[in-house]
Each structure stands twice: as C-alpha cells, then as structure tokens.
Symmetry: C2
Subunit: 339 residues, 2 copies
C-alpha cells in the first residue's frame, strides 16, 4: 500500500541557486525540504580559478557533512533523500572553465561540473549571449564543445544565451538541453526570458526549462504573486505539456554586492555594467516574500495544486522532471541505450 | 583446484614508467603481460598545465580503449586483468600540481592523481630534494599537505627526496608511504638511492620500495646483469622481508631529449642541468638489454626464482605488494578500518 503523496516525501530539485553558501544557509536548505540544488560554481573563472572553487566546496562538504553532500549522479540524489541531506551539484554559468581547450570539457566533468552554459549574457567562444546586439549563433569551437559535452554527459544550459544561438544549440545537440533558469517571454518581456519558439523547440527535443524566481524575470518583479507565478507554469504546461517543466529559482540570498558585480562585470568591463538592473537600481532586487526562506518550495508545491495540476504533475514539476532529465543527460554516451 | 602459478596469471605492476605514451608502446605494454603501470603525469607542471596532461591522457584512453584503461582503485586493476587491458594510474614526480594551495590536493586526487612526490631533486614548498646541499626536512606547508594526502588517500612518494626529509615524511605520515622508484645505496651509491636507515624505517611503517631499472641507479649502470639486479632484491628482502618490495622500473623508452631536459631543468635553471648525467653524457642512458622490450618483467619474474624466492614471494614482488599497498593507501581516511 503506497503512502499518500506529501511535500515531504517528494524529490524536490531546485535547478539553480547562487546563495551565500555557509552553514546557516545549509540549515535553511535542509529545513526547506529540498533534496538537491544546482549550485553555480563559477561565472567568469578560468580553469585554474575553477579548481579553487571546487576546493572551497570540498571544504564545505567536509565541514557540513551532516547537512549537505556532493552529487555526481542521480543515485547520489536518492542517497540525499534517504539520509535527509541536501545534495549539491555544480554548474558553470559561462564556458570560462574550459578556456579555449576542448580537452577541459572531460576534465571539468570528471571534477564534478555537471552543467555548463555556453554563454553568460555576452558573446563567448561558443555562442552569443542574450545581451549582445547581434546573435551570430553557435561558433566553430561551439559545435565541437557541444559534441564533446554530449559525449561525456555534461549538460548544455542556454539560460543566458541569445535566441538564434539557443535554437541552434537545441538542434545541434544530440541530447536534450536545458534552460535551467528563465521564464517565458509571454509572462514577462526581458532579454533573459525565452520566446515561445525557443520553449517549444526545447520541449520538442526533450529539453527542460526551470522557472525562475528572480524578480527581474517575473511580471511585477518583486511584487509577483505566488498565484501569478504558478499561473505562468500552468500556461506553459498548456503549450508544451508538463514533462518539460521544472523549477530553477535563480535564488540568491545573503550575497554581498561584490558578487553581483563579479557576476555582471567579470573582468570584461572597466565601466560598471548593471545587467538587468540600472545605475539607479544597482543592487540585488528584493526577494519575493513567498520565496525567501525555507518555505519557498513548499509554497510553490501548494500553489501548483491551486492551478489544477494533479499530484503526479506537481511531483514532476517540483523535481521529478529534473531527476529524469539529469539521469539521462549525465550518463556517458556509451551508456545510453538510445538517443 | 587452483591453477599452477605462471607469469601470465599474476597481477604484474610496474611502480613507475615515463615512456612515450603512444599506441605502439601500449601494444608493447600489453604484450609484456603488465597488468597496471604507474605513469608519470607531470614533472614541473602547474595546476593548469596538469589539467592539460589529464586531458591528453583522456584522449589516449578514448583512442586506445582496446589496449589501456584508467585506474582509480584496485577494482579497476582487477578489471584490467580480466579484460586483458593495461591499467594506467597517475602520479606526479613533484608537488607542482598543487602550487601553494592545500585545497588542490583533494581536487587533483579526484581528477585521478593517486600518487605525488613531495620533491623532485630540488627544494620544494614541501620538503628537500636529494640534490640539495642542505636538507631542512619537511616544511610547515609540507606537514599540512602530508595530513591532507593522508585524509584523501593520495599516496606520498619520496623517491627523489633527501634523507632527512624522507625519514620525517615516513614518521609524520599516518599512513605508509612509498619510494616508488629507487634502489638501496648498498647496491650502488647515488644521490637518488636510499640508505639502509631509510629502507628499514620505510618498511617498519608498512611502506614499499620499488626497485629501479634506471641505469644510473644500478651497479655497473647499463651493464648491470639480471642476476645482479635480482641479487639486490634478495639482499633487501633479507634486511626487511619480502612484503615491502616491488618493481618501479623508472623505464623511459622512445622519449626525445626535450623530455629529459624538461625533467631535469623545468623552468628553474637558465644553465643546463644534467641531473644524473653530465655535459659529456647528456642524453638518456642506454636501456638494459634484458629490460627494454616486452619481455622485461617476465625476465625479472624468472630471475627472482633463481635467487631462491618461492612462487608466493615472487608474486608479491612482481605486483602483489603494490596491489595491497595501493588498495590500503588509496582508500579515503573515513573508509579505513584501522591505522
């Protein structure tokens, strides 16, 4: 006799966070009931700097082993669920960790970089970011890297990429890709949000989009209601079905302004770039009142039922879809049964 | 009914080689009956350069998967034996891959660096090399690194270290260490060979010495006979027993002079340093005629019987001791049952 579904017995996955990763926050995460989190490891770091970010995480795992554990595959997520720990898996928001070296894809994958964006707002060596005026699509090196990421089971993320580049990546990749944290443009026009063309192409090739809680991606920004957020998910489900939807909160809590500036400016600009903000609105946006502490994911869980999703569908959106997508996407090419 | 012991059904491990790693040599290795080889990954490479060496090996594994396979643990060595492939595991001859960063020990270990020398001939950040005039022992950073290597299961190798530093490392390390490739000074006086004090201290703490086939480490250099080599092993066994002895051939075949110069000079000298050679003898020493092709290890196997070792002892020296030493030494600290 199976137990009735509750929030507590679900696998809950947040498809992107970049909070200040300290013990206090790990306690919040554990209390939130989240099973696993995609944590941003780097924005603009070189290969060498990326190793230091891994080293810092190794120390966090050592010092907080009662709360968190590293995730290399979905068996680790199952272990996290059973042991009541929060699993952490890593992604890069940019392709800087591989520099100009195709061989670093496998090296970084082995180190635990499971997901990589091909671009972060700007043009990269691989593709065009969503803030550029001209989108020239996937580059020569980009095509090689997509094939190599497919081979080693590193997941392609186009959250911060421009439209043409994203459509080309969806098409070029032999395996489904993700947009880990962005919203549909129909809900809110923003350079970072995605057109219906992108979302339907993504879904038709087995991809996944994680809905973002970052205020700049939402209607009414920090005043967006839980109901409006869940309504956006329901409308997208009407478009492309439930199987391709997840949460990628883009949640950033407790980070200093310096992190925001690194994220927006890296080493590429002498003048201050304000990203989705502006000179008069340069700091972090206010967090949503219903998604700023340990009850955020459970609020969404309940909000989805209000939209008419059934228990199975809610389970899919809250983590089941991410779980299945990652399980397939992270397996090396040789272990795939079919494409 | 157990099969009679033959060379072919033994696990044969060579505790150090740095040949030119191409397909022709992998075929030679496979024909030699060697089960697994400790391959030198780097001499003086930085962390970033070390990643490129890993990337090059990833490509070798991809392109020669019928002949070789990577080894991360002893289960992989057993797989290599069963599938008739040669297992390759990696070590650094110097501590350059971790630069000045304690956090890189775990990062490099996860990438597949299973063994690391604390020094390579010169003073390092960790300890003193065997060519220095003054041996100041293990440094402050060195003590931290030894503890961290113990924690993550990275094996300490003191082949190129000076006497006091070696004795201190043996003592400081909570786990047995190795001298992967060197010979006893009683057989041949050389800065690279080891005193009886070092060898007995090493063995008393459960360590392992791999006997070297590098001519500069042998009596009569390239004219050293198989009998004299095996005699040296027998004399050492009389001193410290059979359990602590292995082979670490230090074999280098087909490498250009540039590799020898990188190995000897790195970036540290503007004048040419000739290492164990000299200005008039600057190139590779001639390989031993009985250890220069695919029959080398089998020659030693047979030569050890001639010295009176029994079948079990010969099996230990040819690979069994390395296997057990590595199995214990590579397990993370938390998985050790006792110290």
């Amino acid at each position: 006799m199976s137990q009735p579904q509750t929030y507590q017995n679900q696998i809950i996955i947040d498809g992107l966070q970049y909070c200040r990763w300290d013990r206090a926050y790990f306690e919040t995460l554990k209390a939130s009931g989240i099973t696993a989190v995609h944590a941003t490891l780097v924005y603009h770091e070189t290969a060498r700097e990326t190793l230091s970010r891994f080293a810092e995480w190794n120390q966090r795992f050592e010092q907080n082993s009662d709360l968190i554990m590293p995730v290399m595959n979905m068996a680790d997520v199952e272990t996290a669920k059973v042991t009541g720990k929060v699993g952490i898996f890593f992604g890069a928001q940019n392709c800087s960790p591989i520099e100009d070296d195709i061989g670093l894809v496998e090296v970084m994958r082995k180190q635990g970089l499971l997901i990589m964006q091909l671009t972060y707002n700007n043009q990269s060596l691989l593709a065009t970011g969503c803030y550029e005026q001209q989108d020239s699509g996937v580059t020569r090196f980009g095509k090689q890297v997509i094939a190599e990421m497919n081979r080693v089971g590193m997941i392609i993320d186009m959250s911060h990429s421009a439209e043409r580049s994203t459509l080309e990546a969806i098409d070029l990749s032999a395996r489904p890709i993700c947009i880990s944290h962005a919203n549909p443009s129909f809900a809110h026009q923003a350079l970072r949000n995605k057109s219906t063309a992108v979302i339907t192409a993504l879904a038709s090739r087995g991809g996944l989009i994680g809905f973002s809680l970052y205020p700049f991606h939402l209607p009414n920004s920090s005043q967006c209601t839980l109901e409006a957020f869940c309504q956006m998910i329901a409308t997208t489900a009407d478009m492309v079905g439930v199987d391709h939807l997840g949460i990628g909160s883009d949640l950033c809590l407790n980070q200093p302004q310096t992190v925001l500036e690194w994220m927006r400016n890296g080493r590429w600009s002498k003048a201050m770039d304000y990203g989705e903000g502006s000179a008069s609105n340069a700091s972090w946006p206010d967090a949503l009142p219903w998604f700023c502490n340990s009850t955020g994911m459970e609020n969404i869980y309940n909000g989805l039922f209000q939209q008419g999703f059934n228990a199975s569908e809610v389970g899919q959106i809250m983590g089941g879809n991410w779980f299945n997508f990652l399980k397939t996407g992270l397996s090396p090419e040789s272990q795939q049964t079919s494409k």
